[in-house]
Symmetry: C2
Subunit: 188 residues, 2 copies
């Protein structure tokens, strides 16, 4: 998405528009859920023109992905504890906490919904995963540089994230700390 | 759901109604997708009264689950190859083939949608999973009875099904035979 965004001056009009639009999206998500509002409704709520949103984000899907990434990065920053074991346990526990909250489930449903909303949705879903995978890979690369035997990012997706995602998406009860630690143990 | 269903005489009126209603649901799913039609629309398409559907299935969610289970049981019966290794590989390959077809993705989305549609949806999702888990457990029990060291059904869910489900739900490309076999290797 970055190539679509003009340089922003912190505190300038562009930053204010960005903050207002993000807030409008967050409000509409909590009122109606992902996928149940239009660019026009976001624009009206944020007090900007539709064209400002299309110029900056290109599509509703890209805007939703930007909001989801901003949320994830604020709530689940990648840990750096000094060991692979500590990093993975902290990360898994953060993700478990995030996705079992009502907003976190909405982010997960967004990722599913994006893959079902045509080419722009698929692209936005790819962007969302690519950014999070890049962050995860940095964490794993730090472990490799310390000489630790790190799994690859897809292994973390398949055996730590996917089981937690599916249990939450299927409404299969809480993710206990023992369960989450067990997933990390098995992968390491 | 079984307790709601009257005994059916094969070839009788009850069986015909069942077949017509299933066909109507299958048609509406392929035209509109899961969740985008009502009991009244199913009834009209099948040529039966709304009350016949409510009497037999109780709710739209239960009807959808019945249709999904019937489909799954027809397309992905539990294998019985004589070894745990053979059973799990055959099962994993069947599931991969099923969920990467356009209809299979719809079943997966149904499971996600059910957990998001209130108490009846959660119950229907539980019924859907309970029946498939019961079948999977029989397969694993047969392996234990042969003296093989079988994983539990939740292990199969977490480490074979969940990775495949998430990759399909997130639109992350094909499930190659090598990938699917790798999941089985890792669990065994």
């Amino acid at each position: 998405m970055n190539e679509r965004q003009p340089a922003r001056r912190p505190g300038g009009r562009s930053a204010r528009v960005g903050a207002d639009v993000h807030q409008a999206v967050t409000d509409l998500i909590s009122e109606r859920g992902y996928g149940n509002f239009t660019v026009g409704e976001v624009a009206a709520r944020a007090g900007v023109a539709d064209s400002s949103i299309y110029r900056r984000w290109g599509s509703l899907e890209s805007l939703l992905t930007d909001v989801a990434l901003t949320r994830l990065n604020a709530k689940s920053p990648m840990p750096d504890t000094g060991s692979l074991d500590g990093d993975l346990r902290t990360y898994a526990a953060q993700v478990a906490r995030e996705i079992t909250g009502p907003d976190g489930l909405a982010v997960l449903r967004l990722a599913v919904a994006l893959s079902n909303s045509g080419q722009r949705g698929l692209q936005a879903g790819d962007d969302l995963r690519a950014e999070r995978t890049r962050q995860l890979q940095s964490m794993l690369d730090r472990a490799s540089e310390r000489g630790e035997d790190a799994p690859d990012a897809l292994g973390v997706l398949d055996h730590i994230l996917a089981p937690m995602y599916i249990r939450v998406l299927f409404g299969m009860g809480p993710l206990t700390p023992e369960y989450v630690d067990g997933l990390v143990d098995r992968l390491l």
